[in-house]
């Protein structure tokens, strides 16, 4: 890609990333949430990868790290779900934190945490699917 595309992507991708974080954090107040925000973040990463080309990054290393990130995120989701079982009255998936005032940023108990974890997990998963599809280079039959 040309230098114009690369520079523009640098500018845009950062903003898209920030927007993704905004969508995730405000998931319990405005439309959007963990899934939407996670996919937006993955989109910004994919944008950078497309602009700079697959060879720009040392991709093989990146792949393993992303697997661990998303596994950790998912296991954190399960941990919170199970911690309801410990903190609450033996109920799996209990919303055990205080609810706060509706409309405030810090409210809704564990929901923002779920949003953040699911957002991380979705972003990592989609990015890794994309990466593994572009890394894959098997010789086609002649």
């Amino acid at each position: 890609m040309t230098i114009i595309v690369k520079k523009t992507t640098q500018l845009i991708a950062g903003m898209v990333f920030m927007y993704g974080i905004y969508v995730i954090v405000h998931g319990h107040l405005t439309p959007g949430g963990g899934f939407a925000g996670g996919v937006i973040i993955a989109g910004s990463l994919i944008l950078v990868t497309l602009a700079y080309g697959g060879d720009f990054l040392k991709l093989v290393k990146e792949e393993t790290r992303t697997t661990i990130v998303e596994s950790l995120a998912t296991i954190l989701v399960i941990t919170i779900a199970v911690s309801g079982l410990l903190f609450g009255t033996k109920i799996f998936f209990n919303n055990f934190l205080p609810k706060g005032i509706v409309g405030h940023l810090v409210s809704a108990g564990v929901l923002p945490l779920y949003n953040i974890f699911v957002g991380t997990e979705v972003a990592a998963s989609i990015f890794i699917i994309f990466l593994s599809l572009i890394i894959f280079k098997e010789e086609s039959p002649k």
């Binding site: 405005t30 899934f35 599809l133 010789e139 086609s140």
Partner: protein, 112 residues
């Protein structure tokens, strides 16, 4: 009723594609279309006349909201659909690299 019928026709177009097409990518596209029509169907079920998007405004308690449950189901189903599409495309790219074609008739076991 007409919206539901149109939505079901979209589903059937996808079904027709799966039955008749002989190309791996076309089959994936047809499945994708079936998926889209299913999401539309759920969204149609949840709609209520005069309803607003399900975001609570504490200042206005008398609002009518559309049904949030089908929307939650579609949210779940969209991501599942993405997962299945990714799997299908992976298999397709693998088969293409092995055989050099997307045509089912030239791939040994898929002819039937």
């Amino acid at each position: 009723m007409i919206a539901y019928v149109m939505c079901f026709i979209l589903f059937l177009v996808g079904l027709y594609g799966v039955i008749t097409r002989r190309n791996l990518v076309k089959i994936a596209v047809s499945l994708s279309i079936m998926e889209i029509s299913t999401f539309l169907f759920f969204a149609l079920i949840g709609f209520i006349d005069g309803g607003v998007a399900p975001i609570v405004d504490p200042a206005d308690p008398a609002r009518v909201y559309v049904d949030p449950l089908p929307q939650a189901l579609v949210l779940t189903a969209i991501v599942i659909g993405l997962a299945t599409t990714a799997m299908l495309m992976t298999i397709i790219i693998r088969l293409y690299r092995k055989y050099g074609t997307f045509d089912i008739r030239e791939i040994k076991n898929l002819r039937g």
